[in-house]
Structures are given as C-alpha cells and as structure tokens.
Amino acid sequence: MDDRQTASTSEASDARLVVRDLQCRRGERVLFAPVSFVVCAGAIVWIRGANGQGKTTLLRTLAGLSAPAVGELAWAGAPALPPRPLYLAHANALKDDLTVGESLRFLLHLGGHHVDSQLVDAALERFGLASRCDAFVRTLSQGQRRRVALARLAAQRELLPWLLDEPFDALDAAGVETLSAVIAAHARRGGSVVLTSHLPVAIDDPSPIVVQLHEPATA
C-alpha cells in the first residue's frame, strides 16, 4: 500500500512532492484509505484504483484545486517557490468555437509560456495535428481533441511536475505511443509525472511507481 521507493536518478535536491497520509473527500464521503508517497524528479507515479475510488479527486488535490480532508502534501527540497504543476484534466479545456491553433495558444499563455507560432506548430506536429491548425475544435473527433489538449506537453521546456488524468483516453495506438514517448522524455530530463490510467502504462524507462488506492477502512 505504501510505496516509498523512488526511481530518481539525479542527486540534486530538486523539488519533491511529499504526500503523507492523504485522504480526500467528495461531499460527505472519504474516498480512499490514507496514502503516502513521494514524487521525486524524474519519477513517474501511476495512480491506480477502481472507478470512483478518487483518482481524479487526488490529482485535483495535488494540483491545488481542492484541499485534502486528512493528511498533508508538501514540496520538499527547499525550492524558492513551489513549482506550479501542469494539470491535464479529463476534460480537454477546449472551446468549440476556437481553432486548434487559437486553443493551444490560449492554454500555453495560461501556462506562462512566451507563445510564438513556432512553438505552437512544433507542439501540434509532435502530436500529429499540424495539418489541422486552423480547423475549428468542433470539427475534431474525441481523439483529436485529446491530442490538442496533450500538445501542451510537447511545448513544455521547464521541468514542471505533470499531473495527467487519464491522458491515454480516446487515443489510438499511434497517439498512445507518442504520449508515452513524451512522458518518458520528460521524466528522463528530470521532470516528474503523476498520472492515472486504466490502460497499462507502457513506459519502461523510467519504470512507473504504482500507487494503489484502496477503500477506506470502515469505522
């Protein structure tokens, strides 16, 4: 249940996310038994659990959108400012009435990037959507919309922690391969990734640490 092993290869005191005895609540219900883990630089943490176990709520708590019910999460390694994680929700955050290029630009602006056409084009190219840059989002399929949302990852130069909620959803085999490669590259450069996925995560280097969410103990 506890997983304190780390796959970190770097000795530097990079920011680590330390989660201690965390429990999240949705309404009146406590979702899972207390969970503790450490996300080091260069690590991939794969959060697993049954449907409704609280994986999304846990990610939202790690992102700072909700407060935990019990326990604490903290950034260790004495960074000047706790790094702002990149949170990719289950919803794509795309507006139907904007083009692919405009949507990605908007999301990158929010992420604090200096946005130029090169950055946008390169990101779309990585996820195979360069040809649809001027298409309206409402003309795209579910899988294509997912790719647009994921294209933000390809534009990342900073080593932010990534919090990805079901990132492989709706992707075809080629998309899954591209995303796995992008995640692995980020981890190898020293960034950290926390993700949930029902499909097996086909990344070998670094190998994902599994954190399993369990039912909370009754009484």
Binding site: R60, L65, N92, A93, K95, L98, F106, G111, G112
Partner: protein
C-alpha cells in the same frame, strides 16, 4: 496578472465574435423591452419623457441579469475554468476579465445605443447626455454584481432564478442613482450628487465584488 487578464478578455471577445447572434441577444432584449413601453402606456410625450430614464435603466438591469447566467457555466463544463484557476493570480484575473468582457459586450453597447432610445422617448438632449453618462458609470456595476451572482449560482440547476433574486436587490442603488441623475437633469437641477453617489457605488463594487466572486468560484470548483 495583466497578461492573463488580456488573454482572457481577448478570448471572450473572440468567442463572442464567432457567435454574433448570441452576443446580440442582450441588446435585442433591451430594444424589444423598451419599445414595448410606448405601446403599452400610450404615446403621450410628457409621460414618456418622465418614465424614460426608469424604463431604460430597468431594461438595462434586466438585460444584464439575463446575460450573466451562463458567464462561468460553459467554462466550467469544458474544463477551461479549472485551467484558468490554476494560474497564479488566476482567480482574481478571471473574475475581473469576465466582468470586463461582459461589460464590453453588454453594458457598453447599451450605453452607446441609449441616445436612440432617448429620441424614441422624446427626451431633451441634456437628459440624453445624462442617460448615457449614468449608463457608462452604472453598467459596470451591473456586470460586476452579475458576475458575483453567476459565481454564486455556478453549478446549480435553477441558478438563473436564484441569481436574479440575489443580485437584483444589490443593483437597486445603481438603478436609483442612475435613473435619478437623468430625472434631475430633466428637471433642470444638477445631477452632480447623483453622479458622485453612482461613482461611489462603482468604486465600492469594484473593490468588493471581485474578491467575493473569487471566493465563490473557489467554493464552486472545490
């Protein structure tokens, strides 16, 4: 934060430009509502001149209330709101940006179109000027308070009704001072007092409403 603000306002304006018919709805409502009054109460010029400020202001208030109900709802539904809230300073930026874009798309067009309705009601030029000035000062208050209502009722099923019940009473001072300013000018008196009070309401709202709205957004997305 100003960069985030500019990006958010730009996005909302661009989205409105892509849905021009929907964006024109508040103005259409405003026009229809005002045009009904001469038909309903009779065409007597003296009476129309008297009720004109109140009618225009009430119609502006109702148009603002009807157009804020979905202010945050679409962004909540497609996940954009979460992403905006994750930006440092994002909560305040999105509140101010939404109020600003709502005012640019609703309040400002109303203030610009007001002279036409002033002529419809046979108002004196000085009164029309006062009407436009009071709308320019007062419609931002409506946008800010409307944004507060939208955040408070975010995610509720009968949110629109609740929003109107909560926010319309808060808008009454702006309504009274705004319409009162025009009535004062029409009666030949100075409207300075009314403008000052209206300006004070605007400053008060501009300081308090964004903070309250940001808190409401936090609760709604927790």
């Amino acid at each position: 934060m100003s960069g985030t603000f500019a990006v958010l306002v730009g996005r909302d304006l661009r989205l409105a430009a892509r849905r021009r018919i929907d964006a024109a709805l508040p103005i259409a409502f405003f026009t229809v509502a005002i045009s009904l009054f001469p038909l309903g109460v009779g065409p007597e010029p003296q009476m129309l001149r008297q009720i004109a400020p109140g009618v225009v202001w009430v119609a502006a208030l109702l148009a603002a209330m009807l157009s804020v109900t979905q202010l945050y709802a679409t962004d909540l539904a497609d996940g954009s709101l979460e992403q905006m809230l994750l930006v440092p300073g994002g909560r305040l930026a999105i509140v101010v940006a939404k109020a600003a874009s709502h005012w640019l798309l609703t309040g400002l067009p109303l203030a610009v179109a007001a002279p036409v309705f002033g002529l419809l009601f046979d108002m004196a030029p000085a009164a029309i000027g006062a009407l436009v000035a009071s709308l320019v000062l007062g419609t931002p208050v409506l946008s800010l308070l409307g944004g507060l209502g939208a955040a408070l009722t975010l995610g509720l099923r009968s949110g629109a009704v609740l929003l109107i019940l909560i926010i319309v009473p808060l808008c009454i001072p702006a309504l009274i001072f705004g319409a009162g300013a025009v009535a004062a000018v029409d009666a030949g008196q100075s409207a300075r007092g009314h403008y000052s009070l209206l300006g004070a309401v605007l400053i008060f709202t501009a300081v308090l409403a964004p903070v309250a709205t940001a808190a409401a957004l936090r609760i709604a997305t927790e």
